[in-house]
Symmetry: C2
Subunit: 432 residues, 2 copies
């Protein structure tokens, strides 16, 4: 049966959904030319009937009933842009079971249920694409799957959350503290009213899981990622970082060592002259280490309705071209079953430690002994800003590479040490 | 007919050809799994019979007769890696006419004859892919064609030549002059014995043509690119650039303005804090401005046998998958016939000018008048390093945006001005 058009069903008319609807309308001619068939919006699910949507959408195009999209007979591709785990997961499953191809920007669903959904798509002979789920409009999923296909990927280091990178950039450049910077970011719309998912690294962890599952042919889930947020970072940490030649970034890191993969999201010291250190503001960047192509970096804005619509519509066009050519493309699932998670306790890095201690002789000796007892060697130490009144000093320590489990033990012991008033901060170092 | 393997014919066993042969041998299992069929090297053209090649290639696999590859009955894909315009162009045409798919890393052939070859491939129902021709292992062709398909691209700014970027980086960091840096680069293997193609910007111009033809749906040729090399840049230009907040890079620039596209390769002042200013050494980077995805940067090493083999084999895998699935993929040719070249004389930029003049009153007034007569306004001027013995001074001028044709007229007049000893250098400014 010769198709005359590609029917699109859209779930959600928020920032991204509105952007996609707008682009489908304003670029209809150019998109039809590329797909060889017109892309026609058939039905749009939007629970908020008052929501503004592009004038080009007729009033009878929107519905509050998901079934009208998911089982619409003329819909070939369902675009899921409502976000969140539920009911998006269920909607996608129903769309797939109804034989619809699915395009989504939903990082949470793909990180948590990606393998299940991709298997389901194979079963029902449909495609499931999610380029917009990581890095928004930055091409990542497709380069990882296609362009790097001949490579073994050994490491991913990435700035995957624009909100936290914006906050860290302002703290670094203006000497601000975290709380006030977050507040300003919220006022400017760069951080949400409830910023927990961004600030605590959860959003970045979802995206890291998605990239890692492609890179290492695994089926990791978000719980496999060790996750720490940025709320503990103080303005003075940036000063000390700079003194040692480092910037502070919230990095998502995945590294393969034999059959084990470590995955973690936490603030790091990274060398000031590395490419990732230079990624400022709301920009995202993904650095990937490969055996053939060497080190690559993909850089761009990681959020926004238009940005995401670039990736969503690229996915739609890829599916539309296959429909036109009569090609039945289903997701590939080539699991490497040997792959397991390397626990964070086995990770080895250098550490930055900031302590508050009484300003008197012998203190450093006791601190060094605790570290030494846990096989941690000090590479340099600076005593900072003694407070003569309180007779306290700030002690900043950089260690040589040491195992996380030793460091965690040392931190507990340091906290109990009478000569340590406070372990103020502790940040891992990532030499890229 | 069910295929049992994908037959590969290889032209050339140099740096890239040797890398590809090695990867085909060492990764045979993983590649066969991805392609669903073994990739089997059937015949290799190498005129130099003494050339070392991987032991895995049997002795009867190499030939000095191109026909044995181009019309080998079991070859499905011909990989062209001999480089240069001739006879590579003719070999590719014959391979296509014989019904072979072609993968190439040949920037010169694709820049000069791309449209003709792609048309020929369409005629003979075969695919022609050239991911390795620009940026080596950095994914560029495929992201431009697929991932950015929904976007309008308005500008490309790129560091596309590792040799010149290596030389400029060392000049900037070590205060060296061009000639000695080039000599060292040659000794270290970062520049060829005959470096003209790199140094004069020709290599970068080829790559810019290839990217522009995809981005703007055009059929530009290398002559459409205005081209200037780096041999005129002096150590002191880097000092003055830094004083004004700029770095100096050899950029390849393409910008769309209505239906006109300007394309040029020349040294530029770019802001020190831009992403491209931070690309050092042999690395390449391509910045692309789009309407939907915003500004993206792709970064990585732009040369080397293994790097290129990543892209070549990605192309081979893409074709192999189509063969396996019975999909007849041919190159798309969607020309926008309104597109024309904007002559460099119509380009408007800011300029940096370095002059040598007698150190006496009234000189600057005469220089300003010449510039003013050609509608060029000075934004700042610094008099540098007066030489009391010779009674000369160095005058450094930054202008406001002005048209190239006015500047070229002014330069001629300045050279004839009695109060100007020398127009020592003149560099365009690119504010990204």
């Amino acid at each position: 049966m010769m198709k005359k058009e590609i029917g699109i069903g859209l779930l959600g008319l928020g920032t991204v959904g509105g952007g996609v609807a707008e682009v489908l309308a304003t670029k209809a001619g150019s998109l039809a030319e590329q797909a060889r068939l017109p892309l026609v919006l058939k039905k749009v699910l939007e629970r908020d009937v008052s929501k503004r949507y592009p004038a080009e959408l007729g009033p009878n195009l929107t519905t509050t009933n998901p079934e009208e999209v998911l089982s619409h007979p003329e819909v070939d591709i369902v675009i899921e842009l409502i976000g969140g785990e539920h009911p998006a997961t269920e909607y996608m499953k129903r769309a797939i079971a109804n034989g619809k191809h699915v395009v989504t920007a939903n990082k949470e669903v793909i990180a948590k249920h990606g393998y299940e959904l991709l298997s389901l798509a194979r079963k029902y002979n449909v495609d499931l694409r999610y380029e917009a789920s990581v890095g928004s409009g930055i091409p990542l999923i497709s380069p990882f799957q296609q362009d790097l296909a001949a490579n073994k990927i050994s490491a991913i280091r990435a700035i995957l959350n624009g909100t936290t990178n914006y906050i860290l950039t302002r703290m670094a450049k203006e000497g601000l503290e975290f709380a006030s910077t977050l507040k300003q970011a919220q006022e400017l719309g760069y951080a949400e009213a409830n910023p927990a998912n961004d600030i605590e690294g959860i959003d970045a962890a979802y995206k890291l899981v998605i990239l890692s599952n492609i890179a290492f042919r695994a089926k990791f889930v978000p719980q496999d990622v060790y996750c720490e947020g940025i709320a503990n970072i103080a303005a003075r940490d940036f000063l000390y970082a700079r003194e040692f030649g480092y910037a502070i970034k919230l990095l998502a890191i995945a590294k393969k060592d034999g059959d084990k993969v470590e995955m973690r999201v936490h603030p790091v010291f990274i060398p000031q002259d590395s490419q990732l250190a230079k990624v400022d503001g709301v920009y995202n960047a993904v650095e990937v280490e490969t055996d053939l192509a060497g080190k690559l970096v993909f850089y761009g804005e990681g959020a926004g309705g238009l940005r995401a619509s670039s990736a969503v519509i690229a996915d739609v066009l890829a599916i539309a071209r296959n429909i036109y050519r009569g090609v039945n493309n289903v997701p590939e699932l080539r699991l490497d079953r040997r792959i397991t998670v390397k626990p964070v306790s086995d990770v080895k890095t250098r550490y930055y430690l900031r302590l508050n201690a009484p300003d008197r002789p012998g203190v450093l000796a006791q601190i060094s002994k605790v570290l030494g007892d846990n096989s941690i060697s000090i590479s340099s130490v600076i005593q900072k800003e003694s407070d003569p009144a309180a007779q306290t000093a700030i002690i900043v320590i950089m260690t040589y590479p040491a195992e996380e489990k030793g460091m965690q033990k040392a931190l507990k012991q340091l906290k109990q040490l009478p000569v340590v008033n406070e372990v103020s901060n502790f940040i891992r170092v990532e030499e890229s």
